[in-house]
């Protein structure tokens, strides 16, 4: 028997296995960093992966951390599916957070069942608005969206700094933050005495909706056609520009929802550090899930586990909390590299016995 590796499509069952093997490989690679911190990798990974799930408080915290990642992961997946590389989910999330903080201060007297839909719509619209300029530049003038969305991410942090140091600044607080939003705009809790809020259900719903849209609707079909080949889509009379614009704007809106959740469910006011890079981490979730919305959902929750675990490892073993960032980035790169494996297959050939062949 001989094993040969040749180019060709790997069997379909390999694909879902890749992220699992990637997780294992990531832990082997990052144990070097843990050893450098003079810690035991096995106990570090116990605190990383098992300890957070072993009690209710931290298990719910995994879902809390996963909530914005489900949304930014969905946003990235939606845009990437149409071949639009939206790296601006971070900025669009912040736009949604600004809208939520503004509406939350404005919408005091109305009842919650009116206010909360307005918050969601407002955040979605703000995310779309922040995605609009790069999307238009891409569609009309062929300006690379990666560069413009990255620059827009930096621009909005200055805008937030201006708001928080200017007339949005809460005079009561020592920190630069906006005034607390009205109680009727706060997302209801899903579990008492936890931080898990309604935004988690919104995020799950969004994942299901984009799964349906991408797989079962004409828009989804057009988006995937554009994502596979712009020219081929064009020759099949798909309006490439309009499809990308739609994908980019909806993607921005979904990222905006993540910002609404962080303001209305967690912080209750706008702060400069409202997102520790959820927009960029969403790209990791999207890659880990292979751009399949359901897989992306699992990826986002797994990163939520790593985020929570990083805090556990840090407090239990005194390792810097940034180990979580190292693990997540390594996971992204390893997954990315391992997905190339599906372009190869291993064939087993049994050489035909020859009469005078030597063994």
């Amino acid at each position: 028997m001989r094993f040969t590796i040749e180019r060709g499509n790997a069997p379909a069952w390999i694909r879902p296995l890749i992220p699992l093997v990637a997780i294992l490989v990531t832990f082997i690679i990052t144990s070097v960093v843990i050893l450098w911190a003079k810690a035991n990798p096995f106990s570090a990974y116990y605190y990383f992966l098992i300890a957070p799930l072993s009690n209710q408080v931290s298990a719910l915290e995994v879902l809390v951390k996963g909530t914005p990642l489900l949304l930014t992961g969905a946003a990235v997946t939606f845009a990437f599916s149409a071949g639009y590389f939206n790296i601006g989910a971070e900025g669009q999330l912040l736009a949604g957070a600004i809208a939520a903080a503004g509406l939350g201060m404005l919408l005091g007297p109305l009842p919650a069942f009116v206010n909360i839909p307005i918050m969601l719509i407002g955040g979605f619209a703000a995310g779309m608005l922040w995605a609009l300029i790069p999307a238009l530049l891409k569609v009309r003038l062929m300006v690379d969206e990666v560069v413009t969305t990255l620059l827009m991410n930096t621009v909005i942090t200055f805008f937030i700094s201006w708001l928080l140091n200017g007339y949005w600044r809460d005079p009561v607080s020592m920190q630069p933050q906006s005034a607390t939003i009205a109680p009727s705009t706060v997302f209801p809790k899903l579990v008492l005495h936890s931080r898990l809020h309604m935004g988690f259900l919104v995020a799950l719903l969004v994942i299901l909706v984009i799964y349906f849209v991408l797989r079962r609707t004409p828009l989804g079909l057009r988006m995937r056609a554009v994502g596979l080949s712009k020219n081929a889509a064009h020759f099949n009379s798909v309006k490439v520009g309009r499809t990308m614009l739609t994908a980019a704007l909806i993607s921005g809106g979904i990222a905006g929802l993540a910002g609404v959740g962080e303001v209305a469910g967690i912080h209750f006011h706008l702060i400069a550090q409202i997102s520790p890079g959820y927009g960029y981490t969403g790209i990791i979730a999207a890659t880990l899930g292979g751009l399949n919305p359901l897989g992306v959902g699992l990826g986002a929750l797994f990163i939520g586990l790593i985020d929570t675990g990083a805090q556990t490892v840090s407090s239990a073993m005194g390792i810097p909390i940034y180990l979580g960032n190292v693990v997540e980035a390594t996971l992204l790169l390893v997954t990315l590299g391992m997905f190339t494996l599906q372009n190869y297959r291993i064939t087993i050939t049994t050489p035909t016995p020859q009469k005078e062949g030597r063994i």
Binding site: L141, V146, V147, L151, M152, T287, Y322, A329
Partner: protein, 303 residues
């Protein structure tokens, strides 16, 4: 000339220095056909490695050298993904930025702990190129690395257009199939270009920690890498135009610092955001650029 203008021009050169290193580094990568979004992380890693190595060895120049070597390794890592494995350049570049950011923060905390006063070193001294001449003397009282960055512009031009390696690099970035047919090793050329590029970026980062600040902070790069990515489009992938772009950006940034201190009735965030908005406007005006290396973003697989 009054002191305001002299100070402004001196600051412009200082602010432009890391951008020149970073953009020239990116120029090598893109001319060979690789968009290196790992630049933001490589700048940060360079400024951390430079700071840590200078602190440990007691020599600032060993810090610069360590950054150069570390940056080259980052470039080779980018090569592993984009040259060897041929995966998406956008996502792998961002992944490398995330990894290098995480590693820099992790290592900084591991080595220095969480101190109330951040650790610092005595930074490079400036070197007056024209001695005590009235105006020139004050403007050209810069760090050696700043002079080096300006010297690098004609050197890079020469390497790209006059050297054998530059010819191979441009061929590989425009048409790798043809280059391969002509006997150029596409993979090795791209690896070397990425290593040179990464090294230059990291030195740009080390300039910030070893010359300008004498310390390492988490926000030390703050999007400068993305500015370099935009500057290269603005600079049309040409070393000389990249220099003008970096100087223009440096001028706007230096102006913003000075207008802040004059107590102008505009919020300073407007000035901070201005260079980024100008860059987006320039990209919109430049539109679809025909000078972009044709093979960029396209992995090469030898059949």
């Amino acid at each position: 000339m009054d002191t305001f203008l002299i100070g402004l021009m001196a600051a412009t050169l200082r602010v432009a220095t890391p951008l020149i290193f970073g953009t020239l580094g990116e120029l090598f990568c893109e001319r060979a056909g690789i968009l290196n979004l790992g630049i933001e992380g490589t700048l940060l890693f360079g400024s951390f490695v430079g700071f840590a190595a200078a602190g440990a060895s007691g020599s600032l120049w060993i810090g610069v050298l360590a950054a150069l070597v570390a940056g080259s390794l980052c470039g080779l890592l980018m090569g592993l993904f984009t040259v060897k494995l041929g995966v998406n350049q956008h996502v792998s570049g961002l992944g490398i930025t995330l990894l290098l950011t995480g590693l820099s923060y992790f290592a900084f905390r591991l080595i220095y702990g969480q101190q109330a006063i951040p650790p610092s070193i005595k930074p490079f001294d400036t070197f007056p190129l024209f001695g005590h001449l009235p105006v020139l003397g004050a403007i050209f009282d810069q760090y050696t690395l700043t002079y080096l960055s300006f010297l690098l512009v004609p050197i890079v031009w020469w390497v790209v257009y006059r050297s054998n390696f530059g010819l191979h690099m441009r061929a590989v970035g425009e048409n790798p199939e043809a280059a391969d047919a002509a006997g150029v090793n596409v993979y090795n050329t791209r690896y070397i270009a990425l290593a040179i590029g990464g090294g230059l970026m990291a030195v740009g980062g080390a300039f910030l920690s070893l010359a300008q600040l004498g310390a390492f902070t988490f926000g030390i790069i703050n999007g400068r890498g993305w500015v370099c990515i935009a500057l290269i489009i603005f600079g049309n992938w040409e070393a000389a135009r990249v220099l003008w772009g970096a100087l223009l950006f440096g001028l706007v940034f230096a102006l913003q610092l000075r207008l802040q201190s004059t107590g102008l009735q505009l919020p300073y965030e407007v000035f901070l955001a201005l260079p980024y908005l100008v860059t987006i406007a320039v990209l919109a005006l430049a539109g679809r650029n025909t000078s972009v290396p044709s093979a960029i973003l396209k992995p090469y697989k030898r059949e």
